[in-house]
């Protein structure tokens, strides 16, 4: 039978207190010592080896020593022990039946130097940082590789003005754009722009009487849309959040550009008539050949900003 916590402890002559703790050998899982403490406060706790225990009863432990001899046993040095709640000892419960209370196991000799433990804890952090820090930049650069692509400023032929029959009416021009992304085979993607042959009034609304300049990423002038050329091309991307808008009849506003996503409405001059769009439609560089062929530079601007910010 194992000594239980709170059991009375009797010496050969008299009762001296109770079992306040038990000490367990972490390897054999056997109780090696009992800790005897007094009933009253202030009484010292002494550790008594199991060899000194004569018999273990249901609620009491009989020692071989007399109460006077008990003084010779060492005092419990609590610092040198940890409780079984703080240390993982497999299968301890299978062998131990002393609950409830504090079951102690000795802290190994090598573990008693606190400063060294702090050093090792910091050392772990240092090594972790040494591994992580040199990786941060390569990983970030690795993931950022495709984020910023140079602009493609080639002229693309997209159709002929013969398709436009009426002034100030938006006409959609669909075209294929050659597109090569990273390792992928070159592909053609469908794109579209809206072109109108603007009356002087609408043209004035688009250009405000001034020529419109387009620059490349380095600030070099690419092209100037003359304010007196009646053909105006708008990027197919809605400046609100990037959906594709349409030329539609509106009950109140008449013929307008309407985006089905968040219901932004623009007039033929690209001006916002209604809805959440932050800026007018985006005119693109356009040139019309003598035979009516239309060429544009395909550009895309960031949606949702008041200012035009080119991204493609």
């Amino acid at each position: 039978m194992q000594p239980k916590l709170k059991s009375k402890v009797r010496c050969t002559d008299r009762e001296v207190g109770e079992v306040t703790k038990v000490i367990v050998d972490p390897l054999s899982h056997e109780v090696s010592h009992i800790v005897v403490g007094g009933n009253g406060a202030g009484t010292l706790e002494r550790q008594v080896p199991m060899a000194q225990v004569q018999t273990v009863l249901e609620d009491a432990v009989q020692l071989r020593a007399s109460s006077a001899d008990l003084e010779r046993f060492p005092l419990l040095k609590r610092d040198e022990y940890v409780t079984t709640k703080e240390v993982e000892i497999a299968h301890l419960e299978d062998h131990l039946h002393v609950e409830p209370g504090e079951v102690l196991v000795p802290l190994p000799e090598l573990e008693r130097n606190v400063k060294r433990r702090t050093f090792f804890a910091n050392f772990t952090h240092a090594i972790s940082l040494l591994v992580a820090l040199p990786l941060a930049v390569p990983v970030l650069r690795y993931l950022m590789k495709p984020m910023y692509a140079p602009f493609d400023n080639h002229w693309i032929k997209i159709g002929n003005v013969g398709k436009i029959k009426t002034d100030d009416v938006g006409v959609q021009f669909k075209y294929k754009k050659k597109f090569k992304e990273a390792f992928m085979p070159e592909a053609e993607i469908d794109k579209n722009v809206w072109i109108l042959k603007a009356s002087p009034a609408v043209l004035g609304e688009v250009y405000k009487g001034k020529d419109m300049d387009f620059y490349d990423a380095t600030g070099r002038l690419l092209w100037t849309n003359k304010a007196n050329v009646p053909y105006v091309v708008y990027s197919g991307k809605c400046p609100h959040l990037g959906c594709g808008y349409k030329w539609r009849a509106h009950k109140v506003l008449g013929q307008v550009f309407l985006c089905p996503c968040h219901l932004s409405i623009y007039n033929a001059g690209g001006k916002v008539l209604d809805g959440p769009a932050p800026r007018p439609l985006d005119p693109l560089p356009i040139r019309v050949a003598a035979n009516g062929d239309i060429e544009i530079i395909d550009m895309e601007f960031k949606a949702g900003t008041k200012a035009q910010v080119r991204i493609v």
Binding site: E181, L241, G244, H262, P278, G304, K306
Partner: protein, 364 residues
């Protein structure tokens, strides 16, 4: 019966002796439920069930799906039209994601109304909010993978919205898209996020969620004296598990029915020209979509307000909730602000969703 243990019993005993299987099982099942089992407590278990099914169907879909801009659409069509039961597994996965969102709303509402986010369960609530974000992330990233028009445009608009975050928005949007516009890099990134990063994050956080929940213990009903609660208390097994299982069965049946009645049909392959398609997000993002149509969220600042600030502030409010609302009162009928707040949020979401649906008709 001769009293001798069977071979299986011996194996179980062998394993149990070494790893403490029975203790583990007992610990898992013998959780006291204060005030007894209830149907209101099934949502967490149901979410776990839905996630396991999403993982299983998702893994099966990956046997045929190819995450590349020139094959994603064709491989998804192949799953739908050629592979035996492919249409069913894909449709189950699709409707399962909707079920997940519905159940997350139910779960959060239950916890909110029962006042179960209050001390000492703040950590459970916070991890739960992170899980809510992950579920939304799953929906958003999964939507792109079939690479049809719906996928392409929902992503285009969704990422443009993220772009409106001050200072870091442009970087975040480009980082996520892997370039200025959606393409192969976007598909690769969304695929990795959808099948690796989010599942790992969800498993880790869900484990933490349950661990914290077990540490704090179930909250129990919000009224009744401690004697009444004690008298009605039972263990997680069997009564709560039985209710959970019935709910899982019902959810499974519902998802299967939806997969049969409304199987997934793809639109045209993704392209930057929307054609006649009117872009629209998945139904659980419709209210946000409709919100951004409002005049007060017009312009650059308005857009930031509607797309970033408002949802951000709402999430921040939810996160701060257990720290603002410190009163120990859990009875929802004695927390008028909480009750009215919940009703307003639910009605607003419902109204915005319905008006987005009504708006569809005017566009055709």
């Amino acid at each position: 019966m001769n009293g001798q243990p069977t071979a299986i019993e011996k194996i179980v005993a062998f394993v149990d002796e070494r790893v403490g299987l029975k203790t583990l099982q007992a610990k898992m099942l013998n959780e006291p439920v204060p005030g007894g089992s209830r149907w209101a407590y099934v949502f967490g278990s149901v979410l776990l069930f839905i996630f396991i099914m999403q993982a299983a169907t998702g893994i099966l879909l990956m046997f045929y799906y190819v995450p590349s801009a020139d094959h994603a659409y064709a491989s998804t069509q192949y799953i739908i039209h050629e592979v035996d039961y492919g249409w069913f597994l894909l449709s189950y996965h699709f409707w399962g994601s909707s079920a997940m969102v519905v159940m997350v709303f139910a779960h959060m509402s239950q916890v909110f109304l029962w006042g179960a986010y209050k001390k000492p369960r703040e950590m459970v609530w916070l991890v739960g909010l992170a899980l809510f974000g992950i579920v939304m992330g799953f929906g958003f990233t999964g939507y792109l993978l079939p690479w049809d028009q719906r996928a392409y445009w929902a992503t285009t608009v969704g990422v443009e919205i993220m772009d409106k975050t001050p200072i870091v928005g442009d970087f975040m949007a480009r980082f996520l898209k892997g370039g200025p516009t959606p393409g192969q890099m976007t598909l690769s990134r969304f695929f990795v996020i959808h099948v690796m990063i989010l599942p790992a994050a969800l498993m880790g956080l869900a484990g933490l969620h349950v661990f914290f929940f077990r540490k704090a213990g179930p909250a129990g009903p919000f009224r009744g004296s401690s004697e009444e609660l004690k008298a009605k208390t039972d263990y997680f097994f069997p009564r709560q598990i039985w209710k959970d299982m019935v709910a899982m069965g019902a959810v499974f049946f519902t998802i299967c029915s939806l997969a049969f009645i409304e199987p997934v049909v793809l639109l045209e392959e993704a392209t930057p020209d929307p054609g006649e398609y009117h872009p629209e997000p998945e139904w659980y993002f419709l209210f946000l979509f409709q919100l951004l149509r409002l005049k007060i969220f017009a312009g650059e600042f308005g857009q930031f307000l509607g797309a970033i600030a408002l949802p951000g502030a709402f999430m921040a409010l939810l996160a701060a909730l257990p720290f603002i609302d410190r009163s120990p009162e859990r009875n929802i009928f004695k927390r008028p602000i909480a009750l009215v707040g919940w009703i307003i949020v639910m009605i607003s979401i419902a109204l915005f969703t319905v008006s987005a649906i009504i708006n569809r008709e005017f566009l055709d």
